[in-house]
């Protein structure tokens, strides 16, 4: 199965989420329920990093913004699902995450794709994400002082690891640089992570302007 190499990575990523969610103050039930219902790595990491000092609606809005990329992934997947019944589309949409999309769309592009393969990848990624998060959630209460060991650095390092592979074009470098600068410079005077919203809007806006020339 093509998904096998991804499973341990997703499970460990889920485990780190579970540990950090508990340290952010979420109960074991809330930690696990978020993995079960939301199933979105970057959005869940972001939500728990904002949890203590940010209002609920802003967390939901941030989840929406972070997951907007899935709208485009879904759009590019849509032609391959055109003949599938609505219940299959609805089910597959729930599991459309970066990893499952990447595997499934490459199969479709090779002419070997199927809804069963896409669903199988979704189930494998979902299962390892939820079980990893549950394990991390159980372990989370045992870790005493994460900041002392630099465990809190897992957040920015995770996002660095997601960002760097995207930097294959100059325009993306400009987007990232503008966003990073805005986020750092406005952090002091835009509380409640409002600096992130401004940075994301300005960064993606600058990228759009550069490409429109």
């Amino acid at each position: 199965m093509a998904v096998v190499p991804l499973v341990p990575g997703v499970a460990v990523f889920g485990l780190v989420y579970g540990v950090l969610a508990r340290q952010a103050g979420l109960s074991l039930a809330a930690t696990t329920l978020m993995s079960l219902l939301v199933f979105a790595g970057a959005a869940q990491f972001t939500a728990i990093s904002m949890w203590a000092q940010t209002s609920g609606p802003l967390i939901v809005l941030t989840s929406l913004m972070i997951n907007l990329r899935h709208l485009l992934m879904g759009a590019s997947m849509a032609p391959h699902l055109r003949r599938q019944p609505a219940r299959w589309k609805a089910m597959l949409a729930f599991g459309l995450v970066d990893e499952s999309y990447a595997l499934a769309i490459s199969r479709y592009l090779r002419g070997e794709g199927s809804r069963e393969f896409f669903l199988g990848v979704n189930v494998a990624v979902y299962g390892s994400w939820v079980l990893g998060g549950l394990t991390g959630g159980v372990l989370g209460g045992l870790v005493l002082n994460p900041a002392r060991w630099g465990i809190d650095l897992v957040f920015p390092l995770t996002f660095l690891g997601l960002l760097v592979p995207l930097l294959t074009r100059p325009v993306t470098g400009a987007v990232a640089a503008a966003s990073a600068i805005v986020a750092v410079v406005t952090a002091a005077w835009l509380p409640g992570k409002g600096n992130l919203v401004l940075a994301i809007l300005l960064g993606s806006g600058i990228g759009t302007l550069l490409e429109s020339r």
Binding site: A30, L37, I59, S63, A75, L96, L157, A187, N195, S204
Partner: protein
């Protein structure tokens, strides 16, 4: 806002983004909108990574985390994977802390 209300809101927001793309496939967005959306992930990840690394106390003051991010970024570029990036970043940070004292 109640914890479970936030989780439900996140779930609905996340599912909406995933289902909308698949169900509204025939409706083409203006190219400028698609371009804007395509830049959001890089903008999001940069906005989330930069402040804790470059301004841990709220104002620009890069320290050990910023230095540790350099080998981590190199590993991210080479492996294109998150987990080795985390390992090398944390390892470098611990090494630097041990050396600096």
């Amino acid at each position: 806002m109640n914890t479970y209300a936030v989780i439900l809101g996140m779930a609905l927001a996340t599912y909406a983004t995933r289902a909308l793309g698949i169900f509204l496939f025939s409706r083409r967005l203006p190219p400028v909108v698609e371009r804007l959306l395509s830049h959001i992930p890089a903008a999001v990840f940069a906005a989330l990574a930069a402040p804790p690394l470059l301004a841990p106390e709220g104002t620009f003051a890069p320290g050990l985390p910023a230095v540790a991010a350099i080998p981590a970024a190199a590993v991210a570029w080479r492996t294109r994977q998150v987990f080795p990036t985390i390992l090398v970043g944390l390892g470098s940070y611990w090494l630097l802390k041990w050396v600096v004292g």
